[in-house]
């Protein structure tokens, strides 16, 4: 115990030292901030009060937003399927025999590890290489990467479900999958839903960024308006994105409230 603690403080000191050394390696005279950029920054901020609201641009912006939402929803659907199946297997809650359980758990955990070791943008590149540039590519990339994360969290929650109600079900004659349906799953479902909703917000932001690998959506419009230095349009898009995130946040809060009361 004391050995662990002392090795931890040694690690802390090493990290602090590395941080201090990294500060000395920055050339402070050159200026860390781009001074020529300041007027541009002011111009950008000033544009916040006059977003572009022409019907033509608004139409384009809403279509882009819609595409991003569609990517996120479809991607999360795939992720939930992958997460539910692999997460359940990885939790080891369903297998009767010890050997089968070991195989399932190890196999499912390894797969989940692989899925989430790779970032969704890298998955997008891989799928573009394999399938070409299409909406399916974005949906699969998001679904596979997020399925790995959801599966891991689902498995952990399922494995940590309170044991007393489960033992009571077993004593009442329930087999493992019945105890899963009537105990393990409902016991942790509010936590699973809560986490999936949080991940849905992340998926919206990830889908907005997908434009950078050539898949359309909000990010593509942002890129275009930024390149043309049309800050009014940029703000329109940002406001739409903020409104979307706020709306999703409100909705997920509502769902959580309903599940816990």
């Amino acid at each position: 115990m004391t050995g662990l603690r002392s090795s931890r403080s040694i690690l802390t000191i090493l990290l602090l030292a590395a941080f201090g050394w990294s500060l000395t390696s920055v050339d402070w005279r050159e200026g860390v901030l781009n001074v020529q950029g300041t007027p541009a920054l002011l111009e950008f901020l000033a544009a916040a009060v006059r977003p572009v609201l022409t019907p033509a641009f608004l139409g384009r912006a809403v279509a882009a937003l819609w595409q991003t939402v569609a990517y996120a929803v479809a991607g999360m659907t795939v992720a939930l399927l992958i997460g539910a199946v692999l997460g359940t297997l990885a939790s080891g809650a369903l297998a009767h025999r010890r050997v089968a359980r070991f195989g399932e758990v190890v196999g499912a955990r390894a797969t989940l590890g692989l899925l989430r070791a790779i970032h969704e943008l890298v998955w997008a590149w891989l799928f573009i290489a394999a399938l070409g540039l299409s909406p399916i590519t974005g949906v699969l990339a998001l679904g596979v990467a997020y399925g790995g994360i959801l599966g891991l969290i689902f498995a952990q929650h399922l494995a940590d479900a309170p044991t007393a109600p489960l033992r009571a079900l077993q004593a009442a004659g329930a087999r493992p999958w019945q105890a899963f349906l009537y105990g393990r799953l409902p016991l942790v479902l509010p936590d699973l839903v809560s986490y999936a909703l949080y991940r849905f917000e992340c998926a919206l932001r990830a889908a907005a960024v997908f434009s950078f690998v050539g898949l359309g959506g909000l990010g593509a419009e942002l890129q275009l308006s930024l390149r043309e230095l049309n800050y009014g349009e940029v703000w329109t898009l940002l406001f739409l994105l903020i409104a979307l995130i706020v709306a999703v946040d409100w909705w997920s809060g509502e769902v959580r409230r309903r599940m816990t009361t």
């Binding site: 007393a164 079900l169 004659g173 329930a174 999958w177 019945q178 409902p186 479902l189 509010p190």
Partner: protein, 249 residues
């Protein structure tokens, strides 16, 4: 006498030296037995061994003449013996009726179990059980919204639906106020008497044990201190049982 439960030299030892060492006991069909004794005497351990929650280290447990170790877990065991705990052990997120119908899982297959979460199966059975414990009006409610006493009665309704021949109850009234405790014990003993079931319950209150049960088994430090009809238990016997605990207090 037809034997419902028979323990032969049953031992179970925990690392701290506590447990049961050893206990032999024979309980007839239809008897109502109160297990009394101070905390740590081994009451929960004894009931768990009879429920088949874990096996004894040594010794044998028979239920209705059959060796417990030979019974298949699941339906076969669930038909013979069922248990309610002090903490009720319900699933708070499920509706009251789903918790009650969980007592039928031993009899159902996958399709029926799944369907019942949407359209309650064997609903008449569950309704009768809930009516019996006075909670029929809470049929569709989320279980977490019920009070402790109500949840204890839901657990009892689940046991009624399971319908085992031997009913075990581990400190069923420990978390209830005195009036509700008496109601629940009256309900439990009424069910046992009405359907000829065997009832074994651990209790902290000897007064309640004497009032509601026909036999009292006193445990102390993992051994049977005495075992006699409730009517023959004298105040002196009880002083002896709880002497240890009084020292601790």
């Amino acid at each position: 006498m037809i034997e419902a439960v028979r323990l032969e030299e049953v031992c179970r030892r925990y690392p701290n030296g506590a447990g049961l060492h050893p206990v032999s006991l024979s309980i007839g069909v239809g008897e109502t037995v109160a297990i009394v004794g101070p905390s740590g005497a081994g009451k929960s351990t004894l009931l768990s061994l009879i429920a088949g929650v874990f096996p004894p280290d040594t010794g044998r447990v028979f239920l209705h003449g059959r060796l417990l170790a030979d019974l298949a877990p699941g339906r076969e065991l669930a038909r013979l013996v069922g248990i309610v705990h002090q903490q009720f052990d319900l699933v708070p997120q499920l509706s009251v009726h789903s918790n009650v119908l969980a007592g039928r899982l031993g009899e159902w297959g996958l399709a029926r179990s799944l369907l019942s979460l949407v359209v309650p199966q064997d609903a008449a059975l569950a309704k009768r059980a809930l009516e019996r414990v006075g909670l029929l009006d809470r049929w569709n409610e989320r279980t977490s919204r019920l009070s402790g006493g109500e949840q204890q009665r839901v657990a009892l309704a689940r046991l009624l639906v399971q319908n085992p021949r031997i009913i075990l109850a581990d400190e069923p009234v420990a978390s209830l106020d005195p009036a509700r405790a008496e109601d629940l014990l009256a309900l439990l003993t009424g069910i046992a008497a009405g359907e000829g079931k065997t009832l074994i319950a651990s209790l902290h209150s000897v007064a309640l044990a004497r009032r509601f049960f026909n036999r009292i088994v006193a445990l102390r430090a993992g051994l049977v201190q005495f075992d006699r009809p409730a009517a023959e238990v004298a105040d002196d016997d009880l002083a002896e049982i709880y002497a240890l605990e009084d020292h601790v207090r």
